[in-house]
Amino acid sequence: MTDESHARPNRWKRFSDWDERPLRLDKFAAEDAANGFAAFKSPFDPKPGFSLAAGVVESMDGIASRDFDMIDFFIARYHLDPEIAPEAMAMPSLEVARMLVDMNVPRTTLVRLARGMTPAKLAEVVGHLSSLEIAFAYSKMRARQTPGNQAHVTNAKDDPLQMAADAATAVAFGFDEIETTMRVARNSWSNAVACAVGAAVGRWGTLFQCSSEEAEELKIGMAGFTSYAETVSVYGTEKSFIDGDDTPWSKAFLAAAYASRGIKMRCTSGAGSELLMGFHDRKSLLYLEARCLCLQRAMGAQGTQNGGIDGAPVTCTVPGGMRELMAENLIAVWLDLECASGNDARATESEIRVGAKILPYLIAGSDLICSGFGSILKYDNSFNASLLNGEELEDYLVLQRDFEADGGLTPVGETRVMELRARAVDAISAVLEELQLAKPTKDMKQSVVAASGSDETRTFSGRDVAMISEAIFARSITVIDVIKALAARGFTEEAENLLKLVRLRVSGDYLQTSAVVRDGRIVSAVNNPNDYQGPGTGYRLTDERRDEIVAIRDVLTRQEVLRVEATFRPAEVTRIAYKPVGPAATTRNEREVVIGISPAFGVKLFQTVAGHPLSAILRVLIAGITEGGGTARVVRMRHTADTSFLGLSAARLAGSGIGIGIQAKGTAVIHQKDRLPHNNLELFSNSPITKLEHYKRMGLNAAAYALGEMPEPVIVPTRGEAMGSRYHARVSLIYAIETEMTSEGAEPEEIDVTFIGAAA
């Protein structure tokens, strides 16, 4: 090895920086259709095709009816409408794609055409759309006008107390549906009871499901605890269907069974499941999903949980994967299905990819934007972490506010959350006691009410929970027993709420497409259809709903800024006195540096954004000027509050021609009288990170300029903080206080500054 090659770096270090980013934990797969890694197109996908013979489907997507597999048969038999298919299949796909994004073509026209389209045709049409067009078409085509959202409510201990508290919390944040599951299968009954009780706290109408084994889930539903199910999974190839231990007929039978029990039901499918199961038939993800979705409509499901779901992470490893997830959701709503649009499995470690993934859904709206949103912390999510979780819930609330988009959630204040959590824990404890299932202690209850996650709770052991759950099942406890227990212990409102939810079954109204309960009323695609036809139509935020969405916590107001500033005043008046001594004149002192302070400096505002008392700032500035061999004079400007003009005006008054301008918030400039206003000598714009030592050096440098020297400029080091987002709201309010105190033509005023006592 020569010295030269030894010295030559072999890597741009930025790649090492990038290696440390969360993104690099994501792994990406090469596009490889033969092995199932193709989002939109595979050479093995069939071409759209269709023929009828004597009113019966003779071939579909290049397959003759005698060669149909179970899925083909079911789609041809129950999905394809032979009256519409000849017309719909003959339309050029590009033309149909344009209709999807044409606001003048009503949704109903397109829904009708979809009934005559084969899976390959549907996939081909949406393949023509860009991501933006897909999102727009989704917004136009989704079934129910008002958007909603679904939460996961689970915890790592299967603790019924926390389950109830977290269910009540999720309900308060506005979720229309909550879904639980458990770490240990036998805890399903305990989870179901706890979630049902928790979801009855605060308001009624949140639909609830307990995801478990098919037969068990139906039993829990029969006992009245749950109101919907979404675990009826379907697959896009026959082999994966069989491997999933079902057929289209067994699933359709199950769908009818749920209806017969008055339980809302949606199917589940998503890109990547066939890939994960090893039976993708070399087809593109979208084509397989189109088959799944046609099948679901054929079965008579009111809706689908769709958009990758468990397969979302693998789909997102493929080029165009996220676009594909949006495209399959579009096919779902085009087929007139309710869509719980995925955004559940955490498909990436990159927060940027998370935010990018959710945005189109947030602004387009969806029946249930997430299916679901992890309302609990990541480690408590027994489904595995969601795209968004308890950690990020406030980020989501802010996104709603940013885009004035209804993501189905509503901010809730701290006091209200604590009330609801305590009430929920008391309610479930009362039920457990009344039904002689368990006796939670005061300590258990208190630990749960305050806990962010199960790491912080002192509660039931796993064995306790299993015994509670098995007792509920063994004693055939039903929702009626729970309602009675609530009522017996004085939880009348919760008893009423739970009863109202179960009573929905009698009329079955909530079995219709996209049904949720809002303010005690059923809202579905039947009575709240999406009628989007361009600006001014479709879903719009009402003023009331907008007020709810924007009301996040900790928002600044002018009153709050002034109140905080006023609290600094008493201390400042013990440190410094500003005595006006008349109009300021220009002097001939060639060593003089003038410090031009802003109108509110020390009058209404008393510390910089960085938190330095203004007395301390002036003290070090003057000390710096003096140490540097200059003399300092303080002048208050009243004609301007702008940093540049503060500095320039000060410079014009200074015998040396050098001035410092400084605003109360701490932004400062060194200026020279002959320069253009914004062409200063040194600028200290990042006041939040400007330290006293920087102001001291600023004084030194100003003196050096006054003496005709060329000092090293002071650099305030930044680490790239989002300064604007942290401070600009406050800064704007502060600055408005300054500008209000200016008046045009008001003369600069000489100030006699006296420091009292020691420095702050």
């Binding site: 069974a257 008579g300 009698v506 009329s507 009575n527």
Partner: protein, 142 residues
């Protein structure tokens, strides 16, 4: 009911047409109160959907342009009175490899038709019986 099919204007029935909603025992929605639950006048049985309600929802689904959803409600209506264990047994039988021959499914269809009058579901299962045969699903899975 006048016999005229329900339309989307009648929906939701609980709000717009409470007159056509009743439980199997003939109770009205207003009868289902907390007091009635506490005094055992309302039991879990009264909180079940009825075949009539499902057929009403099928009419509404049809009127809303959703024929396949309506068909599912019709199948559901036929299953309302089928006991849970029978439902689960037939569901199990419909899963791949459970039935060892076409006859087992045909027998299940006959049971549904003859015992519960579930004509539509029976035909649906018979159709499955044929397709399963063609797709060789009657083989033992290990």
């Amino acid at each position: 009911m006048t016999g005229k099919p329900l339309t989307v204007a009648d929906y939701p029935l609980a709000e717009n047409r409470p007159d056509v909603v009743e439980t199997k025992a003939g109770k009205k929605l207003d009868d289902i109160t907390l007091d009635a639950v506490i005094s055992d006048r309302v039991k879990l049985e009264d909180l079940r959907i009825t075949d009539r309600a499902l057929r009403q929802q099928a009419e509404i689904a049809t009127a809303a342009g959703r024929p396949t959803l309506a068909a599912n409600f019709e199948r559901g209506a036929e299953l309302v009175d089928v006991p849970q264990d029978v439902i689960m047994r037939i569901y199990e039988l419909l899963r791949p490899g459970r039935a060892s021959s076409r006859q087992e499914l045909v027998a299940a269809a006959r049971e549904l038709r003859e015992t519960y009058g579930a004509e539509g579901v029976a035909a649906f299962i018979e159709e499955a019986a044929d397709v399963y045969e063609r797709r060789s699903l009657y083989k033992k899975r290990f």
